[in-house]
């Protein structure tokens, strides 16, 4: 029992927190008594505990609980889209670059090096400022900044898996390239892809919030945590709850996902380093 708690305790806790976030996102319409964008000027800036508004209201009288719950939706949706996009694109490019080792792969890895020689958040922010604002563009920007990690990790793994006997055996049997790549090599690098994905999930969510906080990314009135925090700065002196709850939701979600990621890494591959 003790051994189980030591090895899997964090994973269980993380899954519980992440599960809670998913529940909040899926069930937002049922848990929230109000529309997240419906304003009510007469009920503006009510503190937490006001009847009908457990977490209070913002400057336009919008229910904070509803906004935080719907914000979970926005955050998880963006995180999920980015992780899927980067895993597929970066994973595939890494797979091909590692297997074929031609000039195209070398060029690709140079691009990866250049991109990794730039701070992630600054890169995503610059791309976002240029391609434009909104939900779709923030997903594109974060993915464009994040795919390189998979490409590098997967390529390295493929280079080593390729040397193993079962791959030579499969080649000797005359297996087609596509089948060899996707049926024999891919399953062996999949754990790395899963680990990177779980570690990047939270990073994407926090980066999205940070970029929206700076005034780019998701725009009001869409209830995204980052833009809620950005708006809350003007009311910090009179309404602490506007900053406290969306940020707490963000931190808790990131914590849950990070715990799951750490646990997956320990279970799947203790030697793994990004």
């Amino acid at each position: 029992m003790r051994a189980f708690v030591g090895r899997h305790g964090r994973g269980v806790l993380g899954l519980a927190i992440a599960g809670l976030a998913v529940l909040a996102a899926v069930g937002a319409p049922w848990f929230a008594a109000h529309d997240p964008v419906q304003s009510d000027f007469a009920a503006g800036l009510k503190p937490p505990g006001t009847p009908g508004h457990p977490l209070g209201t913002d400057q336009l009288g919008r229910d904070l609980l509803a906004r935080v719950l719907y914000g979970t939706r926005v955050a998880l949706f963006i995180g999920l889209c980015c992780v899927l996009l980067t895993a597929v694109v970066g994973g595939l490019l890494g797979l091909l670059a590692g297997y074929f080792e031609g000039w195209a792969g070398t060029v690709l890895m140079r691009v990866v090096d250049v991109q990794l020689s730039f701070p992630f958040i600054l890169l995503a922010l610059t791309i976002n400022a240029i391609v434009g604002l909104g939900l779709r563009n923030i997903i594109v920007s974060l993915s464009a900044a994040g795919w390189v990690v998979y490409a590098r990790v997967v390529r390295g793994e493929v280079l080593s898996v390729k040397q193993r006997d079962f791959v030579h055996a499969a080649q000797a049997l005359g297996l087609g390239r596509a089948r060899l790549l996707f049926r024999h090599i891919l399953p062996n690098v999949a754990p790395s892809i899963i680990i990177v994905a779980s570690l990047q999930f939270a990073q994407f969510i926090v980066a999205e919030a940070a970029i929206s906080f700076l005034g780019f990314g998701v725009q009001p009135p869409t209830p995204a945590w980052g833009s809620m925090l950005s708006e809350s700065r003007d009311y910090l002196y009179v309404a602490w709850w506007l900053a406290a709850f969306p940020g707490a939701a963000l931190a808790l979600t990131a914590l849950g996902i990070n715990l799951v990621g750490d646990w997956l890494r320990d279970v799947l591959d203790p030697k793994f380093r990004v």
Binding site: R10, D113, V114, S117, F118, P119, F120, I121, L122, L123, L125, T126, I127, A129, I130, V131, G132, A202, V206, A209, A210, F213, L214, G215, F216, L229, S232, R233, L236, Y237, W240, A243, A244, G247, A248, L250, A251, L252, A254, L255, N258, L259, D262, R273
Partner: protein, 308 residues
């Protein structure tokens, strides 16, 4: 060694050149900047004159060639907003950012390494539990939220610290803590796992068998041998600190490069954006080079001669 240094410097130049090129074309793809900073009621004739003056009417290749030619001489053009030399504007702000980054890095080391080492040495103790719990939490709490909450508590409620700007040492406190929190948390965890790995090595056993004091075994035999992953991470983090400064500087109205970049992006002040990209990438790659050279000192097996 010299060949190695030269090839690394060549790489640095390549990285800087490629990132500038990428940002140049991205910026031009992003549409006409002229419309965004001129008044709404401007006449078409003036608009065109303005475009002509800034060279936006030329073919893209010509614009790019001109940009590269000038950039080589350190001329990124004039800020569209401040009417000042863009590179000069950026370099003027660089010291504030570097001061913040260095202070945050020092704080990161001073907190993370002792916590990590003690957690490893007293594995399973209450200190280990609390330290690592705090580290996991520190990695999850976003800096900008921590910043807002600290401003509320220490500036609005208690009135102990200034909400932002520069001035005395007190102005450094909150930006530093906010900037360092994530990196300190990660470094503490890495230090702990690295020290734990080293403690299992046979030379540690030997050192203990010789009857050395535990203090010396840890400080001399273990710590230096655990340093490589920590230095790697610190090198990566120094670059990321520059990126993180973008957010921290905005929260605390810190007059640094990050805040200037955010404002330039918001105002589509492209000469400043390009100059900032230039300075960021030069700084970042030089830091990485310094880290690689530091390896050679820490672990002679990785010295340049052995590797290249």
């Amino acid at each position: 060694m010299r060949a190695y240094l030269l090839s690394r410097l060549g790489q640095t130049v390549l990285v800087v050149f490629l990132s500038l090129t990428a940002v140049f074309f991205l910026v031009r793809l992003g549409g006409d900047p002229v419309l965004l900073f001129l008044p709404m009621d401007i006449q078409a004739k003036d608009l065109n004159e303005f475009r002509e003056r800034l060279g936006f009417n030329d073919p893209l290749a010509v614009q790019y060639g001109r940009f590269v030619g000038r950039a080589l001489q350190g001329d990124f053009g004039e800020s569209l907003r401040y009417k000042q030399d863009a590179l000069g504007l950026v370099l003027e702000r660089l010291p504030a950012t570097l001061a913040l980054a260095v202070a945050a890095l020092l704080l990161t080391f001073c907190v993370a390494v002792p916590v990590g080492v003690l957690s490893a040495v007293r594995r399973g103790s209450l200190f280990d539990f609390l330290g690592m719990g705090g580290a996991v939490l520190g990695q999850a709490v976003p800096g900008f939220w921590l910043g807002l909450m600290m401003i509320y508590l220490f500036s609005v409620r208690l009135g102990w610290l200034p909400t932002g700007g520069t001035g005395g040492p007190l102005h450094f406190v909150m930006p530093c803590v906010v900037l360092a929190s994530f990196y300190a948390a990660r470094m503490a965890r890495l230090t702990r796992s690295s020290v734990l790995d080293t403690l299992n090595e046979e030379f540690v056993l030997t050192a203990r068998a010789k009857g050395l004091a535990e203090r010396i075994v840890i400080a001399k035999h273990t710590l230096k041998n655990s340093a490589i992953p920590i230095v790697t991470l610190a090198g990566l983090d120094t670059g990321q600190l520059l990126g993180g400064a973008v957010i921290t500087e905005t929260i605390f109205a810190w007059p640094g490069l990050g805040r200037l970049t955010v404002q330039a992006l918001l105002n589509r002040d492209f000469p400043v954006v390009l100059a900032a990209v230039f300075v960021f990438s030069v700084t970042y790659t030089l830091i990485n080079l310094a880290v690689d050279l530091l390896y050679g000192w820490l672990d002679p097996r990785t010295r340049a001669g052995a590797r290249v």
